[in-house]
């Protein structure tokens, strides 16, 4: 046994991804670099040649020539029954989109780590913004928002137990903020190989619905006429999403039991919700920061709670309603903009939809907040202000006004004229 180079210590989020993929015993990795994912593929390039890994597992690592090919390569390898992994971000994910739909349509189980990044236009942007992953909201993939470095590792390790579950067979895309988590380092504990292998789903020679065998030839994903079950196969994808809810919960419960750490029930992560009067609901790094905001606000006498949406697809309707029914003043903070949608945010629209269908949650006040686009910091004070807005709403019965409220949505951090952005042309040192 070769001693592992790294077992515990501060680790970049992207390195945590790379280690997790290797510890989950993937077979095939296809990769193409893109900021801010680059260090994942760099690290994997290193790891696949390191003795620790070459000694115990066989990984085929393919340096593709584009993200579309990365996606196609995953589909090909996955057809063959291999466990597959890759990572991408932003424009790369957009370029891969066609293949993402193919993965779900063919019911293949890869895990794809996403370092979310602002979609380019206007101007290039490479910093955290969930617009890229949310553009695939309806593609049938499972989407998880990750908030810490350890969670990146743990989620990817859990990933294959979810995707390869016989009731599911859908790809999982754990997403975490580009640079916010990808390039920062926080302490991460790796799980020793033997223990990880006991947890990770045992490999099978082939999937139940697609295989390669000359004696048992099949054709996969043929043309289906409209009258011939196309609708039914599409609904099956939806069914798999619904099936995934208990699978995600069970996997998280088992993980917590085995390794002693967990993230809520895998779907949502509550913080001080038991006695809360208002609720900050969010996802990703900002939702973790909201826990700090809740603590600070409680010092000032505001009884707030935080709820982190960890799994967005499948949508954890019951779990969200459980909290919203108890705490009917909810700020939904989003780091992505759904242009032209009713609230400007995909998640808040979904939450309003589930409330509307539940008589006990129908009167809940859902207040959409959008901020932090393209990596702009969302400050603690801004989140405390969100709590204050909820309290004003609670006391006065109507959503208060702010300069940064437009179309019934609060645009956190909007530059409204009271803050001047000065650019010195002589010696510009941008705060980047």
């Amino acid at each position: 046994m070769v001693k592992p180079k790294f077992m515990e210590g501060p680790l970049k989020g992207n390195f945590a991804s790379a280690y997790a993929a290797m510890d989950a015993d993937v077979d095939v990795i296809t990769a193409y670099p893109i900021t801010p994912q680059t260090t994942v593929v760099e690290k994997l390039s290193e790891l696949v040649g390191e003795e620790e890994f070459t000694e115990r597992q066989h990984v085929e690592y393919v340096r593709m020539e584009s993200e579309h090919s990365v996606g196609a390569g995953l589909v090909g390898a996955s057809y063959a029954g291999a466990r597959t992994f890759t990572a991408t971000a932003g424009q790369g994910l957009l370029y891969m989109t066609e293949m993402v739909h193919w993965m779900t349509g063919a019911r293949l189980p890869p895990v794809v780590a996403i370092q979310t990044r602002g979609i380019t236009g206007p101007g290039w942007n490479i910093w955290a913004d969930y617009g890229d992953i949310l553009s695939l909201r309806d593609s049938g993939i499972m989407i998880q928002f990750i908030a810490s470095h350890q969670e990146i590792y743990d989620s990817i390790l859990q990933g294959f137990n979810i995707t390869e579950h016989p009731d599911v067979f859908l790809p999982l895309f754990p997403a975490y903020g580009g640079f916010v988590l990808s390039h920062t380092a926080k302490p991460v504990k790796r799980i020793p190989w033997e223990e990880a292998q006991k947890f990770v789903r045992p490999k099978t020679p082939e999937w139940p619905h697609v295989w390669v065998d000359g004696e048992r030839p099949i054709m996969s994903n043929a043309l289906i006429m409209p009258q011939n079950f196309y609708t039914e196969f599409r609904i099956k994808i939806h069914e798999a999403q619904m099936n995934a809810i208990p699978v995600i919960k069970d996997t998280m419960a088992e993980f917590e039991k085995t390794f002693g750490r967990g993230y809520g029930n895998g779907l949502v992560v509550p913080y001080k919700c038991d006695d809360a009067e208002v609720l900050l609901l969010g996802y990703g790094g900002n939702a973790l920061q909201a826990e700090d905001a809740v603590d600070k606000a409680r010092e000032q006498g505001y009884k707030a709670g935080a709820l982190r949406l960890r799994t967005y697809r499948p949508f954890p309707k019951e779990d969200l309603l459980h909290y919203i029914k108890k705490i009917p003043y909810v700020a939904v903070m989003e780091r992505a903009l759904a242009f032209g949608s009713p609230t400007g945010g995909a998640v808040s629209t979904d939450i309003m939809a589930i409330c509307q269908r539940d008589p006990k949650a129908r009167n809940a006040h859902i207040v959409p907040f959008i901020g932090g686009l393209g990596g702009r910091d969302v400050f603690l004070d801004e989140q405390i202000d969100q709590i204050k807005i909820l309290y004003e709403l609670k006391e006065k019965g109507e959503v208060p006004d702010r300069k940064y409220k437009m179309w019934d949505t609060f645009w956190t951090g909007l530059i409204t004229g009271d803050k001047k952005v000065e650019v010195e042309n002589q010696e510009y040192f941008g705060d980047i």
């Binding site: 077979d27 095939v28 296809t30 066989h58 990984v59 085929e60 393919v62 340096r63 593709m64 020539e65 584009s66 579309h68 090919s69 990365v70 996606g71 196609a72 390569g73 995953l74 589909v75 090909g76 390898a77 996955s78 057809y79 063959a80 029954g81 291999a82 597959t84 066609e98 293949m99 193919w102 020679p205 082939e206 295989w211 390669v212 065998d213 000359g214 004696e215 030839p217 099949i218 054709m219 996969s220 994903n221 043929a222 043309l223 289906i224 006429m225 011939n228 079950f229």
Partner: protein, 312 residues
């Protein structure tokens, strides 16, 4: 290697097996149908085929029935070469590394939308065979222009004849320095069969460009498929050759056609009476086509010259 003869095929029960099952939905006289049939006779059932959007996507059968009696996977248009790459690596991890992995793409999926993936896989020298069956347009969707449509050819998107020339893809692939590049025509099934037999034994990226006439798209009667496929070779428009490790060999009838005088006049092939799609070909276009054909042969010369030089 001696050329296989049809009697050898008949004598061998193995090669008499039909893999591309009859009763599929190819058109009458389909060149693709023949290409499938003979390629698979050479490759056998332990072959995985990845097929991007093309005629082969459709003629192989609507769900839940299919014609290919070997593992066959449909793929999105631009992703075939990459999917085959992934498939090969996946099979290696699953202990099935001895399977032949093929891309079976049309000319659109090869020369147009799929060329990035093709070039990437060729550059990485992936252990796959890339087959382009070239019917010189997007015939699946009703005959739209592709990069492989010949100059002057009428398609639904070039109703006045295509202005530009056919993309010389075999030479583009050869420029990647892959171990094997070949052209074949369904007009010479035994040559095609031999090329697959040879490709099967080579490791690394192999590219086979098959000319497969399309009766409805090219607008000629179904029974003439073989004659059309032969004529395009006889006129020198589509030379048959193999490039092994950079060495080019002319095959079949093309062997004699290096001498320009031995080629049939282009007018016999690019003729509206021969194929309806050439109704816009006039004297000027014919001259340009001649120029283009000569250009193809110049490419061949380059490889032959290098070969001669090395031999000296």
């Amino acid at each position: 290697m001696a050329k296989t003869k049809i009697k050898d095929i008949i004598a061998n029960p193995e090669s008499r097996r039909e893999y591309f099952l009859p009763g599929n939905s190819t058109c009458q006289g389909c060149g693709l149908d023949m290409a499938f049939r003979w390629a698979m006779k050479a490759l056998g059932q332990n072959t995985v085929m990845i097929s991007p959007a093309s005629c082969s996507n459709v003629v192989t059968g609507l769900w839940p029935k299919s014609a290919p009696d070997w593992p066959y996977f449909n793929m999105a248009f631009a992703g075939a070469a990459a999917a085959a790459t992934g498939m090969k690596h996946g099979l290696v991890t699953k202990g099935k590394g001895d399977y032949n992995v093929l891309v079976w793409a049309g000319d659109g999926g090869t020369t147009d939308i799929g060329i990035q993936g093709l070039s990437g896989a060729a550059e990485r020298n992936e252990d796959i065979i890339y087959v382009c069956y070239d019917n010189e347009a997007y015939q699946n969707t009703g005959n739209q222009r592709s990069s492989s449509t010949p100059h002057g050819g009428v398609t639904t998107t070039t109703p006045y004849g295509k202005e530009r020339y056919k993309k010389n893809l075999p030479m583009i692939v050869a420029a990647h320095n892959v171990p094997y590049v070949a052209t074949a025509s369904v007009g010479d099934p035994m040559d095609l069969y031999d090329k697959f037999m040879k490709a099967k034994k080579i490791k690394g990226f192999r590219y086979i460009h098959i000319l497969a006439p399309c009766p409805p798209g090219w607008r000629y009667p179904a029974e003439e498929t073989i004659q059309q496929a032969k004529m395009i070779v006889d006129t020198g428009v589509f030379p048959l050759f193999e490039i092994e490790d950079g060495n080019l060999t002319l095959n079949g009838k093309s062997k004699r056609l290096h001498d320009k005088n031995k080629r049939k006049p282009l007018g016999e092939y690019f003729n509206k009476k021969n194929q309806g799609r050439f109704k816009m070909v006039d004297e000027k276009i014919l001259e340009e086509l001649q120029m283009d054909t000569d250009r193809w042969w110049k490419w061949i010369d380059r490889f032959l010259v290098i070969q001669d030089y090395e031999e000296k």
